[in-house]
Amino acid sequence: MNEVLEETVSIKFNRQIGKDTWLMGFRSDNLASLAKPGQFLMVHLGRTTKDPLLRRPFSIHRIQDKNQLMLLYKIVGKGTLLLSCLKEDDSISVIGPLGNGFTISKPHEKTLLIAGGMGVAPLFFLAQSLNKVQKQKITMFLGFTTSQEVILINELKDLNIDLSLTTEDGSLGITGIVTDLLDEYLDRELNSKPVIYACGPILMLKKVAQMAIASNLRCYVSLEGHMACSLGICQGCAVKANNNKNKPYYYVCQDGPVFSSEMIDWQVM
């Protein structure tokens, strides 16, 4: 097992950057030095209350200035609402870094990052890291429902990424969903044999994975799961394994959150 810490950190900033979307930063030398792209943290919100009860998982979104970690999150329920109420100097307890993280492609490989909505959170950190090792420009497809949700465009451009954007309502970028871009790309550039990294809604991931499997491409998807412990203890975050007799279920917190696309039984998803 990798090294895991519990640390109380003091929030440096916590600000809204898009529709219901917030960016939070804090410093931690230990976590920053251990963290790999695709790993996540468990954040404890209930210092003064037992509701919400459980910690909430958030991907490590970015590491900056050596020791500043950032979380990118969307308000979807009471935990994330409480998180958005925290202000500079408030402290939170985090556990991490957790999970396996992405397998980094080789320097000569073509890499394609596909993010749906908040899926961009871990892929940003991945892009930061890939940039350091990759010879070819990274390609990224980014999909949102509508222009108000679109975030991080400038920051991603600063990373010198080949970026394409879709919105479902066409209010910004190409009209459609992010997998449309993949369709097109595979028609055009299948021969480049890209390594695909994807994070986003489960149905998007299913589509990406199935396309990758059909095209015989290496593809890593970052999954979510309902987590209690995040340490492989509770067996709550199960996801059905594809044809693995020894292990009918993987656990997202330990075996994942990143899975190679053929590991998962996509039928039941």
Binding site: E6, G46, L54, H226, G236, P248, Y249, V268
Partner: protein
Amino acid sequence: MVSQPDLSVNIGGLKIKNPVITASGTFGYGNELIPFYDPSLLGVIIVKGLSIQPMPGNPPPRIIETPCGLLNAIGLANIGIETFIEEKLPSLVKIKTPIITNIYGHSIKEYAEMAKRIESVDRIAAIEINISCPNVEKGGMAFGTDPDAAARVTDQVVKNTTKPVIVKLTPNVTDVSIIAKAVESAGAQAISVTNTFLGMAVDVATRQPKLTNIIGGLSGPAIKPMALYLVHKVVTNVKIPVIGVGGIMDYQDALEFIIVGASAIQVGTANFINPKTAIDIVRDLTDYCLKEKVSNINQIIGSLKTNGENYEKSGDKKNK
């Protein structure tokens, strides 16, 4: 210098250094929380419920948060008793804390077989029988809700082992004291109270149950008042030691159970929220005893006062 208080208690013949135990299913196979503290500091470790054959568990989602509660339908996913003994147990060699296996069978015969298998394993200090798992359709529920069935399971396990046998009760019964008395008569050396409460949640958007298994077991702070009541009811009806479980998050929760009459307590769901909960409780109980000038924790067990009276007069004797 002040001398350290004696936190040791006796659970049906098993003397343990302090009354803090990690609950089955919430502490893995014993060493998963080593990044956070040395498990040797715990009173007892109870490992994940084991069955004869490995069990895959239920399809996800298996857990859902409810107000101050956790609803789980893990479905007793486990690697099976044999793999546990062969692959997991050896890695616990450095841990200086008794290990208790929690066992679950589909039939009385399976329980008896597991007891036999465990008998030969020195490292396992005692057996906790789960007759209360609400997540598995067949069998499980029935044993824990019927005094005769509960007694028969207990009897068969007791007959097949020389180790202390603890029976873990289900709260989903009309009168828990009837079941408690039945397993006591059948030879149980201690009783754990309580396993999870049956519950359910619905996703309003999809109109589907939030758990694929539809029904789950509720744990966490939400159940604490009910668990405490059940412990109260059991301690006033049996003579063997009772282990309190349900919603314990800190040493004050632990003390509530101990005051009511629990000789030890188990920490479950709290391990997920603050992995150091159990060890914090050991530390805080020590501090509490020092502050309150309690030299031996047995002085607190069953010290509940009602109308100025010491309610559970027999509390102390249970640990002698």
